[in-house]
């Protein structure tokens, strides 16, 4: 590494000094809890990824390849449920949010450290219950649409309870972050000097606290319908299946912003550092996070244009949906403007950050096809939707997570990653991702429905292409994770500030001491004054 000049290397292992099971299981240190969340969620990312590879393998041929239709249905349900509830929702918010919110605002911990530990263990409790549901694995899709989910023989009630617990953990974490941001900012750190990652996490936490209870209640109603036969959603018992869909999407649409906003926050931190230039449009980026969170609550009905919902409602939801695009576009334009006349270098965090923009823009621009009524009628429930949300969620959020992991790895572990291997993994991942998912837009336009274990022979060539892509993608991810493991134990020791960042986490040793800062810093300026001679 060339940037070891800023601070001397600290031989102290900081917050990682203490060893042993209890030191982790009972820790009140937000950094350790963040690390626990990251390990847990990344484990489920790999598990969900293995399931995805099996699904792609099944789709290698139009007919049955290596499993029954039922097994395939179970696999896509598990892939969705694991990736969404156990990886992507808690991943950046609870993992990186826990680790970096106090560091970025100059605090010693979150506002409620014990609540923080409790929310981790509730999360683990939820995971145990979810795993228990595997005795009769779910085959409903991650969306649990009734009446199918009320009738199938799978352990729907168990899984619902597990997700209820995971949601509870999510609410507590969000609450903790909101209070932390309000109460524990360092002296002089006014709202408009906050790092933009904090703004993004603040908006995220608001969504978590407001929307998650709705899905919790929905799953309780579903469990009550299954266990006691109360007809909330099943028309045979006087219920309404569309009511379930409204409840479900009232949470599950806003929650896509729980997934994407933190990743946007990570990107916003990385781009100015590696461009050596101030962030462009600070306030526009900060307020657009809040705008996305707010508008995100009003658009859930765009998942239901062909569900049998009234056409008037469809038109209104379509109209509102398009306005999410405006603040999202504002962010993209500001990131790109930040690059203008910068002095840009392309270390691995920056490569992933730029990849985020590239892929997320494709994901974003394919959104209007699904937001517009006439085209959504055709594309809804086809592979076009699968491609769209993988471009936003994997091309967006997961690339943002990878960017953050590469960027903050030295701070979290006190060691550097191998940069050559990181770039190799990036290149393979990029190629693999696009090979796997771009062709799905074409499949969707040509009408291939999603959640099909078997498909018509005319879709065969495109599916072979996507399956081969999934293997390339897997190779890239395996190399990346091997680099993480290698770096954790054998990486070069990192200095306090290898990327020469100005945010507060870089002004303390790597890894940080348990109390984060020897002395709470006093903030006199915003954190984006890059590119001045003095720096």
């Amino acid at each position: 590494m060339s940037h070891t000049d800023a601070h001397a290397i600290n031989e102290d292992r900081g917050y990682l000094t203490e060893r042993g099971f209890r030191s982790w299981a009972c820790t009140l240190d937000h950094k350790r809890i963040g690390v626990l969340y990251l390990f847990t969620t990344l484990f489920f990312f790999l598990a969900g990824g293995v399931i995805a590879l099996l699904m792609r393998l099944e789709l290698l041929t139009p007919g049955p390849t290596l499993m029954s239709d039922h097994t395939y249905n179970v696999l896509f349900t598990l892939h969705g449920a694991i990736m969404i509830f156990l990886f992507i929702i808690p991943g950046i918010p609870s993992g990186m949010g826990n680790f970096f919110i106090p560091l970025l605002i100059g605090a010693r911990d979150v506002a409620f450290p014990r609540l923080n530990l409790l929310s981790y263990w509730i999360f683990i409790g939820g995971i145990v219950v979810i795993l228990a549901s595997l005795v009769s694995p779910m085959d409903t899709g991650w969306t649990f649409y009734t009446p199918y989910s009320a009738r199938t023989g799978a352990a729907v009630a168990t899984l619902s309870l597990g997700i209820f617990l995971v949601g509870m953990s999510s609410i507590l974490t969000g609450l903790n972050f909101i209070v932390t941001t309000h109460r524990l900012r360092a002296p002089g750190l006014t709202w408009h000097r906050l790092p933009l990652f904090i703004w993004a996490m603040y908006a995220t936490s608001i969504i978590q606290v407001i929307a998650t209870p709705v899905v919790g209640i929905t799953f309780l109603l579903l469990a009550a319908e299954r266990i006691f036969g109360i007809g909330f959603f099943d028309p045979a018992k006087g219920g309404d299946p569309l009511l379930f869909q409204h409840f479900f999407w009232f949470y599950s649409h806003p929650v896509v912003y729980v997934m994407i906003l933190p990743a946007m926050g990570v990107i916003t931190e990385i781009i100015p550092v590696f461009s050596r230039k101030p962030i462009f449009g600070y306030r526009a980026i900060a307020y657009s996070s809040l705008a996305i969170a707010f508008i995100g609550f009003l658009v859930w009905g765009h998942h239901m244009f062909v569900s049998g919902m009234s056409h008037v409602a469809g038109v209104i939801f379509s109209f509102l949906t398009f306005f999410v695009a405006v603040p999202t576009g504002v962010k993209v334009f500001n990131w790109i403007a930040t690059l203008y006349r910068g002095s840009i270098t392309f270390e691995s965090p920056m490569l992933y950050a730029l990849t985020f923009i590239f892929l997320f823009v494709i994901g974003g621009l394919t959104g209007p096809f699904l937001g517009a009524l006439a085209t959504d009628v055709h594309l809804h429930d086809t592979y076009f939707v699968v491609a769209h949300f993988h471009y936003t969620m994997m091309g967006g959020t997961v690339m943002g997570l990878f960017a953050g992991l590469h960027y903050w790895f030295p701070k979290m572990t006190g060691r550097m990653l191998n940069e050559t291997v990181a770039k190799l993994a990036w290149a393979i991942t990029f190629v693999g991702f696009n090979t796997t998912f771009f062709v799905m837009f074409i499949l969707g336009y040509h009408g291939m429905p999603r959640r099909y274990a078997e498909y018509l022979p005319k879709y065969h060539a495109d599916n072979v292409f996507a399956t081969v892509g999934s293997w390339i993608l897997a190779v890239g991810v395996v190399i990346m994770f091997a680099n993480f493991v290698w770096g954790m134990f054998w990486g070069e020791k990192a200095s306090a500030n290898p990327w020469r960042g100005l945010t507060l986490e870089w002004q303390t040793p790597s890894p940080p001491p348990t109390e984060n800062f020897d002395e709470i810093p006093t903030v006199t300026d915003w954190p984006y004054g890059y590119g001045k001679k003095a720096v």
């Binding site: 299946p241 050596r276 398009f322 429905p449």
Partner: protein, 313 residues
């Protein structure tokens, strides 16, 4: 099977309408794609710092109210245009058509049943005349399904306990696939049907003719046709492999183990009972999910089916 030529092949009036909206969004999308990715790549290349080069002092540009205004207003106008175009297209898809022939659609796990005005029922084949609008009144007997004709760019979920509607305006003869688009369980991806669009003359002939053009064909042959078009093969194989339900191969005359521990010989009475009242005797190891075919298959039909099953040694 018809092909899906990109942006052509007007199978129905709706095909071209939806494709026009699609193209409009593609144009706006490409504009933003090249705008953003162009600047992204141009800036990344133009302002990169080469190895060993000293870090340049960069200008302290922190924002521009004018630019923020421009990239709020222009995208807002363009996406509003997309909304309006999408809305207009949708109004056309959903507009009731005068003089439409009304056909009832019943979806169930995992087949489609079409009921014509004269009462005739056909499974997994919707036969309509070209050029005449058709109104589908759809409902489901169990879970939510989705009626989807990709060539027509049309889709509508089919719900239990209420009716949903779809208007078809076929403009080309041919056979088009109907998918179930809303996940409905194990047999979801096998829940296909054919949309057969024929000339009005051909349709009139078919409409006048007997429900099954029996002619001189053998009973077993008619049974084979019934098994194929009644959707049996979505769940039952003919080659001995296990699907949702047990295979039909070698079934007749053999011992069948039931879920309650007893066993029964698969004779004519057992087979007929299993078709009319599938829940009465469940084969061990299989879920009790088969729908009844009472009212769908007549006694004569069932006799023909059994005659066919006898041939599957």
């Amino acid at each position: 099977m018809s092909s899906f030529p990109l942006f052509s092949g007007e199978a129905a009036r709706t095909t071209g309408e939806v494709d026009a909206v699609f193209l409009f969004i593609v144009a706006i999308g490409l504009f933003f794609f090249f705008l953003t990715q162009g600047f992204l790549i141009y800036f990344a290349v133009r302002y990169r710092r080469r190895k060993g080069e000293p870090e340049a002092e960069t200008p302290q540009i922190t924002g521009s109210g004018m630019l923020e205004f421009i990239w709020v207003v222009i995208p807002s106008l363009l996406i509003l245009a997309i909304f309006v175009v999408g809305w207009w297209g949708f109004r056309d898809l959903e507009r009731p058509l005068p003089g439409a022939m009304e056909i009832n659609v019943t979806a169930r796990q995992w087949l489609w049943e079409f009921t014509y005005p004269d009462g005739r029922k056909v499974i997994n084949e919707l036969r309509i005349p070209v050029g005449r609008p058709v109104k589908l009144t759809m409902t489901s007997t169990d879970v939510i399904h989705g009626f989807y004709v990709p060539d027509y760019r049309l889709k509508q979920d089919v719900l239990p306990g209420r009716y949903t509607y779809l208007w078809l305006q076929p403009e080309k003869t041919g056979t088009f696939v109907i998918f179930c688009s809303q996940y409905c369980g194990t047999g979801h991806s096998a829940m296909l049907a054919n949309l057969v669009v024929v000339t009005p003359e051909e349709f009139a002939r078919w409409e006048k003719g007997p429900a099954e053009a029996a002619g001189g064909e053998s009973l077993a042959h008619r049974g084979e046709e019934l098994v194929e078009k009644s959707g049996c093969l979505a769940c039952h194989s003919l080659d001995g492999s296990r699907k949702v339900g047990p295979t039909l191969k070698g079934l007749f005359g053999h011992q069948v183990e039931l879920s309650d521990g007893s066993s029964v010989v698969a004779d004519e009475n057992y087979l007929k009972e299993s078709i009319i009242d599938p829940g009465a005797k469940i084969v061990k190891g299989f879920p009790p999910v088969m729908p009844t075919f009472k009212g769908t298959l007549s006694d004569d039909d069932i006799t023909a089916v059994i005659a066919y099953l006898k041939t599957l040694k």
